[in-house]
Symmetry: C2
Subunit: 389 residues, 2 copies
């Protein structure tokens, strides 16, 4: 059975670029696109409560199947009813399939056509994910959007490695679809993932083949794994023309504000990344002028908000000097305040992008954004390995 | 100059016990007593934002002069205007004098009549607190209630050690009063601290002598440092009759819910302790049935609130199973949720105690409380060393 409730509604397209605005209709409310999905790896967006996320206006968050399967364990989530009920989040959830975390975190013992055998990064226990089990686990989690189980490879890779992993991903995609069609209760939609490494030809090939299988949405996967940033944009650019207009497009694991804006212009609708949340916990926040290392000694006497233009509760109520003190003194409130600010920055940026697309002025908005926003060259090239947990 | 704004209003006394209900009027609003003051050592009640504290209904919090002096440094707080502005807390603040932390945390180099020389526990840097400087630092912090600089001694101590430290505390108290009367702008009130170790005679002596000096309020100090709990109650009991009815009475560093209830019955108005907040961060919360180790494996599938009778946001929105998962997975949200719950428990208990005193049924309320509340004998005797940071 396919999703009963999922639908992607295209609202507007930008005349200047390929940018689009839309709405994802899910079993847990609607999600306005383009959207940035905060990463809630272990059933919590680190440092925030679900009340915090609601205050931020988050309409969808991401959960990691690999982590949730290991801890609290899928049986606990099943007993709770679903992940929404377990964590008390009644808006939409997307889960990845677990493949990327096996690739990046676990001790991978063996990949065969059957699936992946791995050892837990927590306790070394042995497990196996198959396309079938990864789909069923996501059904139990009851995410609104679930991802097909795919094989992600490292950068750089040889053409034959890229080809083989992509072909296996395709075979797995069919098996995920079969289980999903037979067993889903209709509350989840299934997205396919397009691999193809940094090969233009293979990206095109796998895009065509994946779309032929017929998913509810399509993700561009296997990027943000260390390739130069130029390649990331190129791969998005060659893939997009093969994707149907009436399905949402999700670029996994991206990224910096400037990258998101560029990829929106390429026609991407959905993003996720640990960037705002992990950087916040490390003492770096995003502002309308660029990145700010809030924990620097320089901030110790700056009795001004993180970002004068920001209307978030942190910028309204707390100074850089206070937040810097909290970081310096090892107080966990520092992590939450920085996270609230940076997620507000990301989510507001997405709302502004969407409004600009609908009003037909995305190009103008983008130029104005970059007049203020200073890209940090240290972080711009290459992309660097950014894991999604 | 004495405090222009501070006043203690006695509202009701319990017919059965010495319990009293009152109101502290401060420069930053009124504080209903008996009151429990959450400990905000470094300008933050650990894991909570000031919005959280307001939601809990906290009317006063405690700051630690020793910590704030070292970090962020008194100049930073002075530049911010005061601690209230630095941390964005517009309700009342009480600061200790720093003496207890020098005693319990710093490397103490020398105590003389002049003051205490010590080395920072953070970086080993050398400093000195005197009665004068401790008072002036607290004026800069601009706490609503500031404490006289005292000498705390360990348990057990010889009669002559207790006597000497108490006499020095008295001499220091006079010097604190002098500086306070000459230099205060009237926004802070100064409390004296009564020492005397576990000696009934010396407690009485120092109570009389301290009260003769004339403070805005009186603290029973030097307890909760390892003495048997029976002794703590005895020392409170012998001290109280020497304290004026029209001044607030503060028992420093106490304690468990059962201890607070007993000391309210002895006539204490104000309490502070790291108990609810530190225990919460270690995975133990307080409930109407007693203490609960929320991080125990037993809670992994308990899809019920921490406390069925509690109306806090945590008990309304999250299950034990979820919070236990957060502890198990090392997520900082666990610390905040446990802290919110346990502080709610403490603050609600104080509000119930106050209402019962006003309604003349404190004895009945106390009996009913202990019908449900299971005291953990493991923690009841002896008191154990509980530092106030």
């Amino acid at each position: 059975m396919v999703s009963r409730t999922f639908e992607f509604e295209l609202i507007a397209t930008d005349p200047e670029t390929k940018a689009r605005a839309g709405i994802l209709h899910t079993s847990h409310g609607h999600v306005e696109t383009p959207v940035f999905m905060p990463v809630g790896t272990q059933g919590t967006v680190k440092t925030l409560s679900q009340e915090d996320l609601q205050s931020l206006g988050a309409e969808i968050i991401l959960g990691n199947t690999y982590h949730l399967y290991l801890r609290p364990g899928i049986n606990v989530i099943e007993e709770a009813g679903c992940l929404h009920r377990f964590m008390n989040w009644d808006r939409a959830i997307l889960t990845d399939s677990g493949g990327f975390q096996v690739f990046s975190l676990a001790e991978l013992n063996k990949i065969t056509d059957e699936g992946m055998r791995f050892q837990s990064h927590i306790d070394g226990s042995r497990h196996q994910f198959t396309p079938e089990s990864a789909t069923r686990i996501q059904h139990i989690i009851n995410a609104d959007i679930i991802m097909a189980f795919d094989e992600c490879i490292a950068y750089p890779a040889t053409p034959s490695e890229i080809h083989d992993a992509g072909e296996r991903t395709l075979r797995w995609a069919e098996r995920c679809l079969k289980v999903h069609r037979e067993e889903s209760d209709g509350s989840s939609s299934l997205f396919g993932i397009i691999q193809g490494g940094t090969s233009e030809d293979l990206r095109k090939h796998f895009a065509e083949k994946t779309v032929e299988l017929g998913f509810d949405g399509y993700a561009v996967g296997g990027l943000s794994v260390g390739e130069p940033k130029r390649m990331l944009f190129d791969m998005v650019d060659v893939t997009i023309p093969f994707l149907p207009m009436d399905r949402p497009r999700y670029l996994m694991g991206v990224g910096f504000p400037e990258d998101i804006i560029r990829c929106v212009a390429h026609g991407i609708d959905m993003f996720d990344c640990v960037m705002p949340t992990r950087n916040a916990r490390n003492g770096t926040v995003f502002t309308s002028n660029g990145r700010l290392v809030i924990k620097n000694a320089h901030e110790a006497r700056q009795f001004i908000p993180i970002d004068e233009r920001c209307k978030c509760i942190v910028c309204k109520n707390y100074t850089r000097a206070y937040i810097r003190h909290l970081f310096n003194a090892g107080e966990t409130l520092a992590l939450r305040l920085a996270t609230i600010h940076s997620l507000t920055f990301y989510l507001n940026m997405m709302r502004e992008i969407r409004r600009a697309i609908i009003e037909g002025c995305f190009g103008k908005w983008r130029r104005e954004f970059f007049e203020n926003y200073h890209e940090d060259s240290q972080y711009s090239e290459p992309a660097g390995k950014v894991s999604t947990i």
